[in-house]
């Protein structure tokens, strides 16, 4: 064997795509080097009790990596979904690992939680357990936040953040998203199947991305930070958000309700995302999808709309 290729850590973090990396690589590169300690690692073999019944392959970590580590020297809890295993979908064990992490954070109070979403929603083969897990996690997020914990969502994986994952993202203190990171509840094919192709053409990729993609979510204020796709960019986005998130209480929930009501009043009649961007005062709104990350970030900062005061 020849000697392994050793790439300097600083180079690796700025040259690795969040979108293409595995959950384990994302965790390793997002946190301070060597600081990650996993809870219920793959050697514990805490696998799904359901997949075997359906004659389907299992994964030793059930598609989610959870643990603690350090970000710029400060302790954080972290969870990362593996979008390539069953589309990152929530099953019983997968969900319980995230619930447990959030409950630990609630007990400790001072340690923030980073959730690297990459999910299509609930795993159909264990749908009841998965749906229960979604509800438990949403409650655990809100309880952790009520106890003073910052819960930050990072979204840029290939599965996007759909189904129950989209609901959880809505519960987080703040979100960072990259262009390929899509956020929604019902996916394109689900909408088309239920409402018809005139409602939503799932094969129109440009439509899918401008309706559910990271740029639109940033311009609507659902995501606070839009970031480029490298691990370095996501690390900086996580640090930014940890610095921005304020305290949480009933006032914040009321403000969020106002923000969403106002958004519906302003944009409820729009037929397309481009109409919304135009109503936001963006000149040549139809060119937004083509903007580079840097150009888009400059534009989004001019628009300014975020959920920062509401969430």
């Amino acid at each position: 064997m020849t000697a392994p290729l050793h790439v300097a850590p600083a180079e690796r973090i700025s040259s690795t795509s969040f979108n293409e990396a595995s959950a384990r690589t994302r965790v390793e590169l997002l946190l301070d080097p060597g600081s990650f300690v996993e809870f219920i690692g793959p050697e514990k073999r805490q696998i799904s009790p359901h997949l075997r019944i359906f004659d389907l392959p299992e994964q030793f970590d059930d598609g989610i990596v959870v643990g603690h580590g350090r970000l710029d020297g400060s302790p954080v809890f972290i969870a990362a979904q593996e979008g390539r295993f069953m589309g990152g979908a929530f099953g019983e064990v997968h969900g319980a690992k995230l619930t447990g992490l959030l409950r630990a954070a609630r007990q400790i109070r001072s340690t923030p939680v980073l959730i690297l979403f990459d999910t299509g929603g609930v795993r159909l083969q264990e749908a009841n357990a998965g749906e229960l897990a979604i509800a438990e996690i949403m409650r655990a997020v809100m309880e952790a936040r009520t106890a003073g914990v910052k819960v930050i969502g990072l979204i840029g994986g290939r599965a996007g953040c759909y189904g129950g994952g989209g609901l959880m993202a809505g519960c987080c203190s703040a979100l960072a998203v990259s262009e390929p990171g899509r956020i929604a509840v019902s996916g394109p094919e689900v909408i088309e199947t239920n409402r018809g192709v005139e409602e939503f053409d799932s094969r129109d990729r440009a439509l899918v991305w401008r309706t559910m993609g990271g740029k639109h979510r940033r311009l609507l204020g659902a995501a606070d930070v839009f970031t480029d796709d490298t691990m370095q960019d996501f690390r900086e986005a996580a640090l930014d958000l940890l610095g921005l998130v304020g305290s949480f209480g009933l006032d914040k929930l009321k403000a969020e309700q106002m923000r969403l009501g106002d958004r519906l009043r302003r944009f409820g009649a729009c037929e397309d995302a481009v109409d919304i961007w135009t109503a936001e005062g963006i000149a040549h709104a139809e060119t937004v999808p083509e903007l580079s990350a840097d150009q888009f970030i400059a534009l989004a900062n001019r628009i300014g709309r975020t959920s920062r005061d509401a969430r």
Binding site: S22, R24, P42, R45, R52, L56, P57, Q59, F60, F85
Partner: protein, 105 residues
């Protein structure tokens, strides 16, 4: 799903001091390999759960070649396979040995 199991004698103990390592993801055409340092120095065991039924002979050949080339003594390999091609299997096995032979936890 099909379960396969292989037991080999290895020429020598695998290097390094790490107790376990994992590579790969269970997806179509991919697999994960969990490797643990739990066996006597001259032994090597591989347990495979594969979605592709009926490829026992190919696995026998790939693993025979792997043990011959890397001498992974003392290591237990647990594999979840989503129907990977033989070259991908060889690559992941080599990555797993390389990882557990690295220094660190």
């Amino acid at each position: 799903m099909e379960d396969l199991s292989f037991q080999h004698r290895a020429r020598g103990r695998a290097g390094g001091s790490r107790q376990n390592a994992i590579v790969g993801v269970v997806a179509s055409g991919n697999l994960e390999v969990l490797v643990e340092r739990t066996l006597p120095d001259a032994e090597c065991r591989l347990e495979i759960k594969t979605a592709a039924v009926g490829f026992g002979e190919v696995w026998t050949a790939v693993i025979g070649d792997f043990v011959e080339r890397y001498s992974p003594g003392g290591l237990r390999f647990s594999i979840n396979d989503g129907g990977a091609r033989p070259d991908t299997v060889s690559l992941r096995l080599a990555q797993a040995v390389r990882l557990i032979e690295e220094d660190g936890r």
